[in-house]
Amino acid sequence: MEILMSILIGFLFMAAVYLILSRSLLRIIIGTGLLSHGTHLLLLTMGGLGGESAPVLADGITDYADPLPQALILTAIVISFGVTAFSLVLAYRAYKVVDTDNMDLMKGNEDND
């Protein structure tokens, strides 16, 4: 199962890198979204895919899943959600002002275009 997850994560990273390297701003943002999905799955896998036991530690229970990765993922998801929303709004504003979503045309400043 871990192997399968690793392949999936690798595939997500590959797609993310491909998208981030493209010119269109929207594709780049989708790329960062995929990147964080891959990251979250990686966290889950790193904690060990524990099978069916519950993440509860009580007297007499020896087999339990590690609850920490899930807490971490939850935090990371919320953060990446916020950042993605912000960057979408920013991309829209930039498109309105700069009049392009092509990263090649976003280089330089007014003095030396």
């Binding site: 960062t32 990686l42 920490l68 990765p69 950042v83 920013l90 504003r93």
Partner: protein
């Protein structure tokens, strides 16, 4: 008062939350921000005193015994950094009153600064590696707001790059924490230190060390990961630039220093050599950049890159002089970069341009500005008895003790280039014929000069009074070099 170490983190946060309620009342915003900063500053000085007298302070949130709960740890290095970041924000906010413009003040400028301060201080104080990621995100999120606030064309263009670079590096941060967790099974930094020492040198630990160097290197701006820094930092207005230049890269540097002294001490021959080589290259690139540009902003921005290299070189040699020098230089650099940017800001406000070739002859009309800029520039280069000297002296001494002869000589030589780059601004802007018209009213000039000169005075005191600061710096270096002090402080209550 076991909660004392949380005050510098929580006070800005609470005041920022209150400020969100009345964004349009500029006067009230300014007053409340100042009050909040003064409270936070007072608490940080008390904390500094407490850490000096009683040693490392720790707090476990929710009383979950370490390593299970999130621990906050304030050792001397954290306390010093927290105090100096509060100090710099205080002066930048004071400067902003006249500089930033009402438009931005009404658009949540002060709350964003205070939220950023929460993130910065939190990252300095936390003793939990994932919590550090969260605080990084807090400060990055606010810095996104600050860099784009105002919505000028150049800001929009540059902030997109800034955000994308940081999103990618944050993902890498989480990935690295994931790897680390799979190796040691804990997130508490003190516990990680113990577990990694048990594991000893192994391939995967070295890989994680290098990944951490990449993550924090992107934030801190070391070679070759600083590529985003000059462009993005030049976009926002001067007070924001001063904050970013003084604080944000230093958080990355602090994180490298912390992880490379607390976690990755088993394979020093590889990881710390890599750090040393990269820091030297960072200085080279910074020097080239600082001399190549005629844009005052770019010159000082490349000086940030140089300083990051110098600090990390001191940290990479891992002996007492080097580490103490690093801490000295780190605090010096926070103060001096803040002061420099404030002075540069006044020059830009007067001449209306940041191009050196279009300025000249300012010394006739603005002698105070000229001479105090010169003092700060000397401090930057490390001319005794000003603030940069003692730090660099100790770093170079540490280099010689570690028998890194050429590298240490190189650091000394780089000081000359730093001096040249800073003096170039002085020569072009203050000497020669007066050029262009002056766009600033005398009253506004005085209001801008007051915070800048006060900050410059503090940097001079920092240099002249170095004798009195040595015990503090020695404490900070001790904890860095001997992780057991840090670990024992965290686990004190458990045993």
């Amino acid at each position: 008062m076991i909660n004392l170490l949380l005050f510098p983190v929580l006070i800005p946060f609470l005041f920022a939350a209150v400020l969100l309620l009345f964004p349009k009342k500029v006067k009230a915003q300014r007053i409340v921000t100042m009050i909040g900063l003064l409270f936070a500053l007072a608490s940080s000085f008390v904390l500094l005193y407490k850490v000096k007298v009683d040693g490392v302070q720790t707090l476990t949130l929710g009383s979950w015994a370490p390593p299970f709960g999130i621990t906050m740890v304030s050792d001397m290095l954290s306390a010093l950094l927290v105090t100096s970041s509060l100090l710099i924000v205080f002066f930048v906010v004071w400067y902003s009153f006249t500089s930033i413009g009402e438009e931005r003040e009404k658009a949540f400028y002060y709350p964003a600064i205070l939220f950023m301060l929460t993130g910065v201080n939190g990252a300095f104080t936390t003793g939990d590696i994932f919590n550090m990621f969260v605080f990084f995100e807090v400060l990055l999120m606010s810095s996104y707001v600050l860099i784009v606030l105002g919505g000028e064309k150049i800001q929009l263009k540059e902030s997109i790059k800034y955000i994308i670079v940081n999103v990618v590096s944050s993902s890498l941060f989480v990935i690295t924490v994931g790897y680390l967790y799979s190796v040691v099974g804990t997130l508490n930094m003190a516990d990680i230190s113990v577990k990694l020492a048990e594991i000893g040198p192994s391939g995967i630990v070295t890989v994680i060390a290098v990944l951490f160097l990449i993550v924090f290197g992107i934030k801190g701006g070391i070679f070759p990961l600083f590529f985003w820094l000059p462009g993005s930092y030049a976009a926002p207005p001067i007070p924001v630039l001063a904050l970013f230049g003084a604080l944000l890269t230093k958080v990355g540097v602090y994180a490298i220093m912390r992880t490379y002294t607390l976690f990755f001490t088993s394979d020093v021959g590889y990881t710390h050599n890599l750090l040393m080589i990269l820091s030297i290259l960072t200085i080279v690139v910074g020097c080239i950049g600082a001399l190549a540009y005629f844009d005052v902003k770019q010159i000082i921005i490349y000086n940030i890159v140089i300083a990051v290299g110098v600090i990390l070189f001191g940290a990479s040699v891992m002996n007492e002089s080097g580490m103490m020098g690093s801490v000295f230089y780190l605090i010096h650099d926070i103060l001096i970069k803040g002061a420099l940017f404030l002075f540069i800001g006044i020059i830009i406000k007067i001449t209306g341009t940041s191009d050196l070739r279009k300025m000249g002859g300012l010394i006739k009309r603005y002698p105070m500005l000229g001479w105090s800029y010169l003092i700060v520039a000397f401090g930057l280069a490390g001319i005794p008895p000003l603030s940069g000297f003692i730090g660099k002296l100790l770093i170079v001494q540490g280099g010689f003790e570690a028998e890194l002869l050429w590298q240490s000589i190189f650091i000394l030589a780089s000081s000359l280039l730093v001096l040249l780059s800073a003096i170039r601004i002085f020569i072009y802007a203050f000497w020669g014929e007066e050029k262009g018209e002056h766009l600033i009213s005398p009253k506004k000039y005085r209001h801008l000069l007051a915070p800048a000169i006060t900050l410059a005075g503090i940097t001079v005191l920092y240099g002249v009074g170095a004798e009195y600061l040595v015990p503090f710096m020695a404490d900070a270096a001790n904890v860095l070099l001997d992780p057991s002090i840090y670990v024992d402080a965290v686990f004190e209550g458990v045993k």
